[in-house]
């Protein structure tokens, strides 16, 4: 099944010319009135990538996507597709297709005609259109529904029609604007998997816009986090999660414990940060030297371990472990994991996420129980605020 599907012309065309990216965004900016929606974004996207633009609403990610589709013209900068500047080209002149947030299916056309719409505009022969439509309908598993109108379909089916319609022209670049936002959780998770599988099979380049960091993490090979019109960080999912560049990114992507730093002290090749809420914390050397500004120590909840007594192997500097004493203040059972909030004796609060690896809760902690929360220096990062 996987092999017999032809690789798309688009993918073949898009073979990188000596390392040239498929899409190059250069200093693109867009202002609405006095509001700078996109503020000097530069980004390269290689052919075959599944790229996610992640950010809170109003961060400019949708505006950036609309500029790629041609619905908005950038005020500054260039958008190069295969080396050609398309920044001012009209939407219908671009070899780029988009899957819209609420699908934007044509309500007066059947599933078949919706999928065929772009092919007819491309002046494809009637017989070829029929073949391609069948192929697309099969690809998104909508066989038998070709004659239905969009309002005779379920949400999930409509989402598939939208996908088939956007893929039918075999665009060099497929843009997906919050494509799964309207689906319920279970369907969303299944569809995520299908989208990834489809993208791999077709060898196409996808750019997805989403505000859901889990969705971005699951699907994308690379993520660009946007904040206030700027790209805050571009990284693979793991790097984004484990080595966020700023406190804001760390908080936006996943849960995190943050302790404001007050002093720093070099201790061999370890750095010791004095914090107000958690005392002195030993941390790994940050990748970029800390500047003069404020900074904080960040640790993900799942990296905080809990135990009734402190870890035995402390003392020595090389194996230094941060240990924080406290009492359980809140328990949140989530099925796969349980999140404990520990009120530290030093005044702060730390969250620990513990996998429920056994069905019987012999290891569970109870409210007000005294515990030690501990973590290694390598598990925490120091972030500029």
């Amino acid at each position: 099944m996987t092999d017999e599907l032809p690789r798309t012309e688009a993918a073949a065309d898009a073979l990188p010319v000596a390392g040239q990216p498929l899409l190059r965004i250069e200093g693109v900016a867009k202002t609405f009135g006095t509001f700078r929606a996109v503020d000097g974004v530069s980004l390269d996207i290689k052919a075959g990538e599944f790229f996610a633009l992640l950010g809170p609403s109003g961060c400019g990610k949708t505006t950036l996507l609309r500029m790629l589709a041609g619905f908005e013209a950038p005020d500054e900068g260039r958008i190069l597709l295969d080396g050609k500047d398309i920044a001012q080209a009209l939407p219908h002149e671009r070899p780029i297709n988009m899957m819209f947030q609420n699908y934007a299916l044509f309500p007066h056309l059947s599933v078949r005609d919706n999928v065929a719409f772009g092919l007819k505009r491309a002046g494809m022969a009637r017989a070829d259109i029929a073949t391609r439509v069948d192929e697309m309908v099969a690809l998104v598993k909508l066989e038998g529904l070709e004659k239905r109108k969009p309002d005779q379909l379920s949400g999930g089916q409509r989402q598939r029609v939208a996908l088939a319609r956007a893929l039918a022209r075999r665009p060099k670049l497929l843009l997906l604007d919050e494509p799964l936002a309207a689906l319920d959780k279970k369907l969303r998770e299944n569809t995520q998997g299908e989208l990834m599988e489809l993208q791999r099979r077709l060898g196409m380049t996808f750019i997805i816009v989403t505000h859901d960091q889990e969705e971005a993490m699951t699907m994308a090979s690379r993520i660009g986090v946007m904040k206030a019109g700027k790209l805050a960080q571009v990284a693979i999912p793991r790097e984004l999660y484990e080595a966020p560049r700023s406190r804001w990114i760390a908080e936006f992507v996943g849960d995190i414990n943050l302790f404001d730093g007050e002093s720093k002290l070099r201790d061999g090749h370890r750095l010791v940060i004095g914090t107000r809420d958690a005392g002195a914390l030993v941390v790994a050397e940050p990748r970029e030297p800390l500047g003069a500004g404020k900074f904080s120590v960040a640790i993900r909840p799942e990296k905080v371990k809990l135990s009734r007594r402190g870890p035995v192997s402390e003392a020595g500097r090389e194996t230094a472990i941060n240990r924080l004493d406290g009492v359980i203040a809140d328990i949140c059972y989530l099925g796969g994991t349980t999140t404990y909030k520990v009120k530290l004796d030093t005044g702060g609060m730390v969250q620990a996420s513990v996998a429920n690896s056994a069905r019987l809760d012999v290891d569970a902690y109870s409210l007000n129980q005294h515990v030690v929360a501990w973590f290694t220096p390598d598990d925490c990062v120091v972030l500029p605020s």
Binding site: A69, H92, F100, A104, R169
Partner: protein, 304 residues
């Protein structure tokens, strides 16, 4: 059970009300007109016979019924005057409706794409002419179109014509008057459908490779058809029966059916023929209404 009782009386009354309305204000008058159309003209009060006299007894009523005939309808079919009047009415109405659609659609489209707060302003601008009496507005047009009227003054001042153009008592003047008067009835239903339409559908079409004119023809226009239908009907039907505008602005050599009706009623005092003409007009106008109804039904069925 109890929930049913809550609704019983008032709901039933509310359901009947429109029918009562229809019977009192449409069917009963229609019955009168139909009866008169089957009568013969007479120099009497009322100016036709037979007259149904419910006090004269059963035999008299039967005789009156027997006296009814469809001669008036035969006359309508045999006399060119009436046939021409119908044809002219339909031609004028068709032409004017087409003009209205051509002029009204871009205006409605423009309004629907304005920022929200400007849409309200545009709406008021469309409706404002209604604040002045219709007749006064038509007389104003006479003023504008007359020999030394505003239009000719402007044309002369711009050296577009060397001598005043005759506008009044021409079909052009009549079309100007009709289009001017009926424009809001075309714009408002069009605006209502276009404003409801999601602009993202047009974006989707252009994203899929449709140049602007195809976006319009393949997406915008088909989706606005309900509004087009409503606007066309709201204009076409009253224009067919239009009397005042052609009477004041058009020439008198060819009459519309509304004018013919007026002549029959008030000049010839031939109520039966006038009534027959009115009945035929009603039947003619039922055709587009039924077509529209069928179209709507089909759309509803597709919608399910």
């Amino acid at each position: 059970m109890s929930s049913r009782r809550i609704f019983a009386r008032p709901a039933r009354f509310a359901a009947i009300a429109p029918y009562v309305w229809m019977v009192l204000l449409f069917l009963v008058p229609f019955g009168f007109v139909l009866k008169i159309s089957l009568s013969q003209t007479a120099i009497a009060q009322p100016p036709y016979e037979p007259v149904f006299d419910l006090t004269a007894g059963w035999e008299a009523l039967k005789a009156a019924f027997a006296a009814l005939s469809i001669d008036n309808f035969r006359l309508l079919g045999s006399d060119d005057l009436y046939v021409f009047a119908y044809v002219r009415s339909l031609t004028v109405a068709l032409t004017a409706t087409a003009l209205l659609l051509l002029i009204g659609y871009p205006i409605a489209y423009g309004m629907a794409r304005l920022p929200k707060r400007w849409q309200a302003v545009a709406m008021v601008l469309v409706i404002v002419p209604f604040w002045t009496s219709f007749l006064i507005r038509i007389y104003a047009w006479i003023n504008i179109l007359q020999h030394d009227g505003l239009l000719n003054q402007i044309l002369l001042a711009l050296h577009l014509v060397s001598q005043p153009v005759v506008w009044l008592s021409t079909d052009t003047a009549m079309y100007i008057g009709i289009v001017y008067s009926y424009l809001p009835f075309m714009i408002l239903p069009l605006y209502a459908t276009l404003a409801k339409m999601e602009p993202v559908l047009e974006e989707a079409a252009s994203d899929l490779g449709a140049p602007p004119w195809q976006v319009f023809w393949l997406v915008t226009f088909p989706l606005s058809l309900p509004g087009v239908g409503a606007g066309v009907l709201l204009c076409f039907i009253p224009i067919v029966g239009e009397f005042v505008i052609p009477d004041l602005l058009a020439g008198s050599n060819s009459l519309m059916i509304g004018q013919t009706l007026w002549l029959e009623f008030f000049t010839n005092k031939d109520w039966p023929v006038a009534s027959a003409a009115a009945i035929v007009l009603l039947v003619v106008l039922l055709v587009p209404l039924l077509l529209y109804e069928r179209l709507q039904k089909r759309q509803l069925e597709q919608g399910r």
